[in-house]
Subunit: 190 residues, 2 copies
DNA sequence: CGTCTATTTGAATGTACTCAAAAGCGGTGG
DNA sequence: CCACCGCTTTTGAGTACATTCAAATAGACG
């Protein structure tokens, strides 16, 4: 399924065969069972991962042991602890598979090499970061201005596919509410 | 003070004289009094603004008229309603000066032209978007895992200069709490 | 089938909100 | 120059939304 990843990239930049094969050579592919940790907090965050199939989530565990889901990544999404990946800091988050998943990983060294060798990728990653930024900013905006119920409905409308692949408990931890409270909310009409 | 903006860019990419002068020619400079609207919701978001001096903030106003501060921008920061700027959508946010400010503005057309003419700027904006993304993601993480008081202390530690330039009411609306409640919190040791 | 986790339900609690009012502070005009 | 006006900040009482804890029910997986 390397097709998926190159198709993802071709949405934004045009690559020739040589560039494609260089890119492929810098990636490693893994198929992982459900509930496998891809990254553990305090470890070195070595990889940026593209989800070819399955689903992953990143989450933060605070001192009291409470989990906050930072993001979900289903097919065709990229995921990592971006701050720690880019700045070579020990990871703040955990990342785990929610179901059996196939991912392609780009190490930090290969990321640097790729940008050096094919500057066109600057554009690709600029657009990726731009989309990630505007998505997070919208999330902050909704967290500040909507009620828990409205946020839940907005999530379901925006990410119907994710809703099918993750548990309500995980959605609650993404929305910043308890599973008990989520369960009292009116179900949105999809 | 165009020095400031070129210095900001030189932190990440090296420009020759020709590129610098092209860049300068694509910018327009404005000095605005306190409480001036730079962008109004529903308008076309035409500009990305670099703050040379002063302070701006972007905020969202919901149906009930409640304001949520999305971001502050003091000297050397860039600000816009990024989603609407990039996607040519009517603005969701307002942006206003908090004090007398001097800003440099890059229109969307000039942004496209700049990236076309000097691809090195892809790298600059990749890094800008990257920083913005990781900053917002950390904010989401803190919103989900910290109490209001901890978020306030974290804000004061992270942005001491912003604290000097904005009101407590504005900080409250950034943190997602009421000014009354902020006022009951223990003052952090700076 | 049995075990483990997710989901739901309910009661008691707490955190943060609304509303009201007083105090503080800064800017402006007489 | 200073008195007034408007906005910010603080304080307090009452309230609402969301939490914790406990327990029952439902679902998924080996």
């Amino acid at each position: 399924m390397e097709d998926g990843i190159l198709k993802n990239i071709s949405k934004h930049i045009l690559l020739n065969d040589e560039e494609r094969s260089l890119f492929n050579s810098l990636l490693s592919c893994k198929t992982l069972p459900k509930k496998t940790l891809v990254l553990q907090a305090d470890q070195d965050c070595r990889y940026l991962s593209y989800v070819s199939s399955g689903a992953l989530r990143s989450y933060y565990v605070d001192r009291e042991g409470r989990e906050s889901t930072i993001m979900f990544a289903i097919a065709d999404w990229w995921i990592t602890d971006m701050y720690c990946y880019l700045n070579r800091k020990p990871a703040m988050m955990h990342i785990e598979t929610i179901e059996k998943s196939t991912i392609f990983q780009l190490s930090r060294a290969n990321f640097d090499q790729l940008l050096e060798a094919v500057p066109k990728f600057e554009k690709f990653f600029r657009i990726m970061m731009q989309n990630a930024y505007t998505r997070e900013q919208l999330r902050v905006m909704e967290n500040l201005s909507l009620t828990a119920e409205e946020r839940y409905h907005s999530f379901v409308m925006k990410y119907p596919q994710i809703v099918r692949q993750v548990t309500k408990k995980q959605i609650a931890s993404y929305l910043g509410i308890t599973p008990e409270f989520l369960s009292t909310l009116k179900k949105p009409e999809i």
